[in-house]
Symmetry: C4
């Protein structure tokens, strides 16, 4: 299986919204929900991609080479590279019913594990979605991170405990899903939550909690205050609120205020190992990739996921070689401009 | 009736100039007068739209939620949201004779009232246009704002008194129509007016006067000096002078000099509740929307107007929820970037 | 005759290079010489147009109106507006043989005079071109400005005296033609000239000398030192050197160093009275327009020229009305942004 | 033979990747390897071209003209202009088998020599490529610069000595090829090298060493420390690492730190004599041009190369005439903006 074959098959299996474009930049699908697009004008998605492209890599190959290693750790666990599959929900609706949320989660969990990293999984209005993904995570030894929607505190705590019981090494909540009216319409309201509520969620289990959907320094400080161990700088791929900034342009300010006191992941428009390199250079501890994994799954199942993750790793390693960074820690702001 | 149905029907009813584009951004119709375009290069219209798109919303959902309210007041009257239909004239000429100025005004007045806001109505060379809109405003209890062209002082005063007699809660004059040669050619010249003349208009009635077409801090101060209770930051949709700045980029400087001493409305390229949010964050007290209401009327009559206004309200409420602003007053400059 | 008719007829009469585009912006014709394009990449022409579009007009109609006058003077002569037709050479080659340099010059001279302004005429390798244009200027009482190429000093002086003898009220030399290898290939070399040579040209006649092709403050100071009475800020429409700056972006620095000590004209991408307004606001004393006059002549002869010049005047007057500048002198930097 | 004929024939002989576009700007071929494109997004190539276009030439023809000379020297050798053909490898793969690396090198070496400049030649996985180019250089009296890939130190030294023995007046190594995995896959690994290794290469022969692929001030200082006599500011046409800066935007900082202590060449997106002028104005001592020479060879053989180099020389001379720089040394930062 090659990457070209995955893309070719993805074009057949995905439809009718996503066009599997040569550049997955949010333009062809803008406003398409259902579908993979950014909400409204699509600018939340489009800008994520465009702003990343503005950052350039500082090439210098005059140095004594040592073997490049992309290895990194998160919550004490070691990964082959600091890249994770982002949660994607309702894949049947948005990409085609060649997969549903459970078959999709299984593929991405297995594929990431095989590549030495891990996948985040999603949540759903129906209980069986979360239950199913938890079972899948349990089946591979807890090697995945379930992501819970901001339902009632009671439900979040219940689901956090399910994650812990399944052996998941961490769990997340996408607080930026708080405005999804579509969930309330199906009888499952979501809402913003104050620090106090987040603290209760943190306290309900022993595994680390990651808050997804932070776009400001103030938000990052609130996550820290609540006891979260990680944040994900994310605008939900432009799908919960139109016309947000791109994630990469708010990253530095967030890094400046929370520093090393919390793990900082980021998603939004990342496609290649070079994109990953840029976020790491700006202070992120890891990167999450979303839409490309839907292509990988629809085009190649778990094997497609592994192949794509390996490709990202090779690109990241090449960027490190070409800039003189032998380890992930050596990737700093001097390596970009 | 859905918004999609309104747009579909508008495409049938409007013609031949306006194309009811996916993005109403002034590009396809540039220079089209008759038609909905900006004058000449169309940049007055196009820039209004483009500059608004550059402002981004600062998302943060980590907070204790309270119910969001979009309610606001203007001249002591309460509205469901601070958004008003802008005056549009000669609709038969520019959009098609499926409507004329009187049937159009009736639809937009009724539709806005049903949605809890109000419409501005326009003026015309023929006396029956203004007379007819005044009658329509009277018929709904004064729930509308007539807009008078800068004719002779005597005529403006006469029309202001007609507005007052009809129970209108305010009236406006679009001083930026001063250069419309087409009016003089029909025997009804318009012209610029000094502060003294504006003061006489203000003094001629008891209801508040709003000066439309202010694009500079100096202009805003002159409106204040004349005793106007409100201004509308407007470049007339790019239709009275080509190559003006966009309204959103001059708003802040105007807010800085007049502050709370006068009500500041703005129009120009506003399409969604998110656009409204941006202007409020920059210090506007309200927003006027023009071209989308022509679509609403031609596609759905008064009902279409109500539906579109409700849609804008929902978008505004969502933006407030996603940025942590429970009331209109809470929308400030920290919520955008 | 209407402007639309002129354009329609110009499309028939001009060919095959110039397409009489909706926006005459240098893009469709880039690199087309023969033809109307900018040399090479065409950026010299394209940028002239694009940079002008970036300047916006500050609209304010709250003032006591007085009649707007576009009248201005140059070298003691009064004109209906400070706009002149630029010299265009070899029109048969670049636009089509519906006109040649002499019939073209006659049309533009007559048409501009009828509109209350004046035309610059061009020069040629063959003696009859300059001789013919001089005759045409003489025939209308000296109401035109011949433009001489930077040939040998002797030839320039001879031609300057011909201009003086014909009663021309001024003459010009386009020093930026100094690099036109095509002229040397036809046995008539041109070259740069130092201040001393320019001073000799100035001293050879009594009528004012205008140096065309100045793009720097240093160049303007040299023209002043040589005794020139005027300069034309010009990149020759992008036709003598590719990749120059636009003229409008170098204007302010030139105005800053020479101030009122010399008359400052400018050309390059000007199309409308609003464009003219911008240059005047930045300190120019007058504007020259080139390519649109080829359309005017090919589409309407002398009458077309007059009509187009009247149109520019009306646009300029409208811009003045809408910004509160009743006279040309009142157009200053506060009127643009 | 004309340039137009060369381009026409190149279109026939080159295929299927390179389209011989009107503007060779990296857009149509982005990501095409095999083919002439920049790697991945192609932005390394595209930006080289685009950033060059942003620099404008300061035109001034008011001066006493003296004959323009484009002559310059490199390592004591005089050239008709400071422009050299860049090494291009695997032409059969990327452009078509109308040429192979040896016939290509012969054409470019002969054509450049005939035009009074010199060509850099490339290296290959197979020994006969380097051997063949060395023979070709020897055959024309050493009038060429072989470029060695960063193989093992032993191999580089062997090849450097071959260059010296062939009479080459200098040799180069493209250290930025260090990441080309494709070479390792063919059994010939390449890698970054520290200053110490570069110093050994320098010491192994008497002819000057040029380090190609420097993109930072730090890299330039390391080349200097190693004893290199020249550097080439290059991102390898965007073909070794995606998303680097353009070369022209890093040039000034490099010039600032190494000044006259080392010869500074540059490549990346240069097409015309005006482009060359810009780099010289920013402090480069010479410019290398790549892709246009493939067109020249495929479209006209050695004669095509000479014709294209003469064309670049004429453009450079014209830019010098139009800006008042009679010699290469007179081209400085005041001549651009």
């Amino acid at each position: 299986m090659t990457y070209q074959e995955i893309v070719a098959k993805a074009k057949t299996n995905i439809g009718p919204y996503c066009k599997v474009c040569p550049e997955c930049n949010g333009i062809a699908c803008k406003g398409m929900i259902p579908g993979p697009g950014g909400k409204g004008t699509g600018l939340g998605f489009i800008r994520n991609y465009q702003e990343l492209k503005k950052i350039r890599l500082v090439m210098d190959t005059v140095y004594q080479p040592t073997p490049v290693s992309t290895r990194s750790t998160l919550f004490g666990k070691e990964f082959s590279l600091p890249v994770f599959a982002a949660p994607v929900g309702a894949v049947g609706l948005h990409y085609s019913n060649a997969y549903d949320d459970l078959t999709y989660s299984a593929a991405v969990l297995d594929g990431c594990k095989a590549a030495g990293t891990a996948a985040f999984t999603g949540d759903g209005v129906k209980d069986e979605v979360y239950k199913g993904t938890i079972d899948a995570i349990k089946a591979i030894g807890g090697h995945g991170i379930p992501t819970i929607k901001p339902w009632s505190l009671a439900e979040v705590v219940t689901k956090a405990r399910m994650a812990e019981d399944a052996g998941a090494f961490a769990f997340a909540m996408d607080i930026d899903a708080a405005g999804l009216v579509v969930l309330a319409m199906q009888g499952k309201p979501v809402s913003p939550m104050p620090v106090e509520t987040l603290a209760k969620i943190v306290a309900s289990v022993k595994i680390p909690f990651i808050l997804k959907g932070v776009m400001t320094p103030a938000g990052a400080l609130k996550a820290l205050e609540a006891g979260a161990r990680g944040i994900i700088v994310s605008n939900h791929g432009g799908r919960v609120l139109d016309e947000t900034p791109s994630t990469i342009e708010v990253l530095s300010d967030i890094v400046d205020v929370v520093g090393d006191r919390i793990n900082i992941l980021i998603d939004g428009g990342f496609r290649t190992g070079l994109d990953v390199f840029k976020a790491l250079a700006l202070g992120a501890d890891g990167v999450m990739i979303g839409r490309p994994f839907t292509w990988s799954v629809y085009g190649g199942g778990a094997e497609g996921v592994t192949l794509y993750m390996n490709r990202v790793q090779a690109e990241l390693a090449e960027a490190m070689l070409m800039t003189g960074a032998a380890t992930i820690d050596a990737i700093d702001a001097t390596k970009i401009m």
